[in-house]
Amino acid sequence: MTFPSALDRDRAPSLPQNLDALRQRIDAAARKSDARAIAVALHDAESGAELHYDADRWFHGASTIKIAILLAVYGEIDRGRLAPQSRLHVRNRFLSAYDGSPFRILADRDADSDVHASIGKTMRVSELALHMIAMSSNLATNLLLDLIGLETVQRTIERFGLTGLDIRRGVEDEKAFEHDIVNRVTANGLVGLLRLIAEERAYSPELSREMLDILHQQEFKKGIPARLPRDVRVAHKTGDISSVAHDAGVVYAPGRKPYVVAILTEWAADAGSRSPTIASISHAVYDYLRGTGQEGSDA
């Protein structure tokens, strides 16, 4: 599978720099929704346009932190400690970041049952990475994190100078959650992380493309891609728990360079319209960058 060329950071801006219209559409989407908070970060390689809409606000990271774990796993591949075909024992037993007590991923709370079906056996690192991202498998996530270590993820974030990413534990670690040990992200943090991969600066162009390939296989498409034209491809990762709904990705539209966008939202536990709100903002961004969004109808 091939992808459009890397983002070109040196290209001179050529599209509208006045982002007020886009801000207004995001404001409108926020007012229309019941969201407690919305943040958007955007970097457009085509025009150089950047939007930072409350983009340094911290949110619970939910499953978007899996992109950072993916980056760290590929760092271990780059170092030669792992290979994509390396096999890993699938075991549902992890230790809490709070006190080291064991916990398990409940199969009925995991978005992906395939990895649970392999308990006791082995799966390849590449398979687990795909399940972690495309199907958002919590079991695959904790297995990979357990293998490489939390410190490796944190060192990887530091190595690339990324900010807005605070990874402190695996997923479904309830005891850690109860003691305020949570993974946090900002919209700017996720855009910085995805730019690193999309611009092929993560280790090597080959490894960056492998990560993008995995992100392109995302199966949850109710966020960023939902209202985009069918010929637009999105390499992205969602994050959805009771209090937040996020989507962050690289958007490849025909005839232009890609843009990177992160849309983070916070909600009351029983609130609806989470995905539609993200899809609406994504549509507004797309319209705006295509130069057709001034009169958008969805906000």
């Binding site: 390396s86 096999r87 890993l88 024992h89 037993r93 064991p102 308990i119 006791g120 056996k121």
Partner: protein, 210 residues
């Protein structure tokens, strides 16, 4: 494809293996157990040429070699490639497991990293009997996953009846306990088959089996 019988397996002297494999297998070496006692590692190994050979190699009617050598990326690098080497006690362990399978009347599944693993495997701490190929972690029996105190305890009772002398890791969450598998353990067994190569008899070594 016909299965290979155990008596067709090639026995090798660990002392004569190439250095990277020897360093990882530590033939005849010593490990410290949890109580600080010295436990001497096996010297003689069965050679497994390929994964296909491991699939075909029957050790007992319901257990083939592959189930005992399924390790993951945590195994020492030189031992992740074929030919692989397994202490000769694996045949005795398989025979004991066959007896256990008869007692439970269901297929018995050994987990990855739950058969033989080397002294250099990242999960090896102290003198784990997995390094002797004389212990197994069973994660599933029939359709039941052994992931609860009740299930592990129930099959542990069967094992105690069927396998006198076997040691079973107690159920629990702390270090030294098991809560997601049944650990059956036949002790620090060293098997030296009749066909094993050996050193010429030297009276000075009398009393030292290695």
């Amino acid at each position: 494809m016909p299965e290979l019988r155990a008596d067709s397996m090639r026995i090798v002297d660990g002392y004569r293996l190439e250095k990277p494999k020897r360093d990882a297998l530590m033939p005849g070496g010593a490990l410290r157990d949890r109580e600080g006692r010295t436990r001497q590692l096996p010297r003689y190994f069965y050679e497994v040429e390929s994964w296909d050979a491991a699939l075909e190699q029957e050790l007992a009617p319901h257990f083939n070699m592959w189930e005992f050598i399924q390790t993951d990326v945590r195994e020492a690098t030189p031992l992740r490639f074929f030919p692989r080497y397994v202490p000769c006690a694996v045949t005795l362990t398989a025979a004991m497991l066959e007896r256990f399978r008869e007692a439970v009347g269901e297929p018995v599944r050994i987990s990855a990293n739950g058969g033989y693993r080397s002294p250099q495997h990242e999960l090896t701490s102290h003198a784990s009997t997995h390094c002797w190929a004389s212990a197994v972690n069973i994660y599933r029996i029939g359709d039941e996953y052994l992931d609860s105190r009740d299930r592990i305890g129930r099959y542990a009772d069967v094992a105690r009846d069927a396998l006198p002398g076997a040691w079973i890791r107690p159920v629990g969450e702390d270090r030294g306990f098991a809560d997601d598998h049944l650990h059956l353990d036949f002790g620090y067994v060293i098997a030296v088959p009749h066909d094993a190569p050996g050193d010429p008899f030297n009276p000075k070594l009398e009393g030292d089996p290695l």
